[in-house]
């Protein structure tokens, strides 16, 4: 994984059981930096659809990785409603997808999480992540390498 973060990105690590701010301990990812930029929501539920295995990754341009972002915009985010705190994909570098995290205020039917179609989900309690307005769509592309839905050209 690249050590240089694009503007608007932040590091988050997953060790298979817990999330950690920064590049470790565990497997480091780049996330939408807004998720760490505000007041953290205590006791949130994070559905981490990623593996600790450092080999687990796909191109962001892979059709299924595109499709899960479409599904997130179409029905997953609306279904989460007010429970949603934030959502971010997990970038490995400027081109590769390592997973996604959906963060909610309470337990949810995470079996429906579209991101779990790619990498299986693990439910984690966390005090790290803050509220971010969900993406408006329909853009599913990334801005200058920042993990979707973060970044902008504006």
């Amino acid at each position: 994984m690249t050590d240089d973060l694009p503007a608007g990105a932040a590091h988050l690590a997953f060790d298979g059981d817990d999330l950690h701010a920064g590049a470790g301990p565990g497997r480091p990812f780049m996330i939408d930096g807004r998720c760490l930029a505000g007041e953290p929501v205590r006791g949130a539920f994070a559905h981490v659809c990623a593996l600790a295995d450092p080999e687990a990754g796909l191109e962001y341009d892979h059709p299924e990785v595109q499709q899960v972002r479409r599904d997130a915009l179409a029905w997953w985010i609306p279904m989460l409603g007010d429970s949603l705190i934030c959502i971010t994909t997990l970038a490995l570098d400027e081109a590769r997808y390592g997973g996604a995290i959906t963060v909610t205020r309470g337990p949810f039917d995470f079996a429906q999480d579209p991101f779990a179609r790619i990498f299986a989900g693990t439910l984690v309690r966390t005090d790290l992540l803050c509220e971010v307005a969900p993406p408006a769509g329909p853009v599913i592309e990334r801005y200058a390498g920042v993990a979707w839905p973060g970044g902008s050209f504006g």
Binding site: A74, I77, G81, D82, A133, A136, G137, P138, V139, I140
Partner: protein
């Protein structure tokens, strides 16, 4: 029409189709946008137009451009309509008709629903109007090709490296 080419469009603050408070600038995210004022789910012309617009989202989603629909439908109605369309863009609800009079877009001939007059604005990222379309008569609306051309013109102006 109050707002025409070159005018600054107001930064609308309205709930989206999930009921979450939003601003127009927030949902545009610094991108060019097509802002569509629509009568509502009940109107066959709106159903037809939004079905076609939904086919265009496949291009907008990879082109760093946004689609935003405003109507007087309640958020839960918009959510159902949006799901039925298969739309992945944002609907904003002015069910309280808070912005409708300020924008001067009341459709005065519909005294039952008091909806927006169908109008489309193509916007620069800073909310300047590129072009306005009066869609009261269906053929006044921008075709999908019109929207492509407008997004091309705006992107050419605001995107670095977009050569003529």
């Amino acid at each position: 029409m109050k707002h025409g080419a070159g005018d600054a469009f107001p930064d609308l603050d309205l709930p989206d189709h999930t009921g979450r408070a939003r601003t127009l600038s927030e949902v545009m995210g610094g991108d060019p946008a097509a802002l569509i004022f629509s009568r509502g789910w009940w109107c066959p012309k709106e159903q037809r137009y939004l079905r076609e617009l939904t086919t265009l989202q496949d291009e907008f989603e990879v082109a760093y451009t946004r689609l935003v629909v405003v109507s007087v439908d309640a958020p839960e109605t918009q959510a159902a309509f949006r799901a039925g369309l298969g739309a992945r863009f944002t609907f904003l609800s002015d069910a309280e008709r808070r912005w409708l009079p300020k924008l001067g877009l009341l459709e005065e001939t519909d005294t039952l629903h008091h909806p927006y007059r169908p109008t489309v604005f193509t916007l620069f990222p800073d909310l300047r109007v590129h072009r306005a379309y009066d869609g009261y008569w269906y053929w006044g609306r921008p075709t999908m090709e019109d929207l492509r051309q407008d997004m091309r013109a705006i992107s050419r102006e605001v995107r670095e490296g977009f050569s003529a």
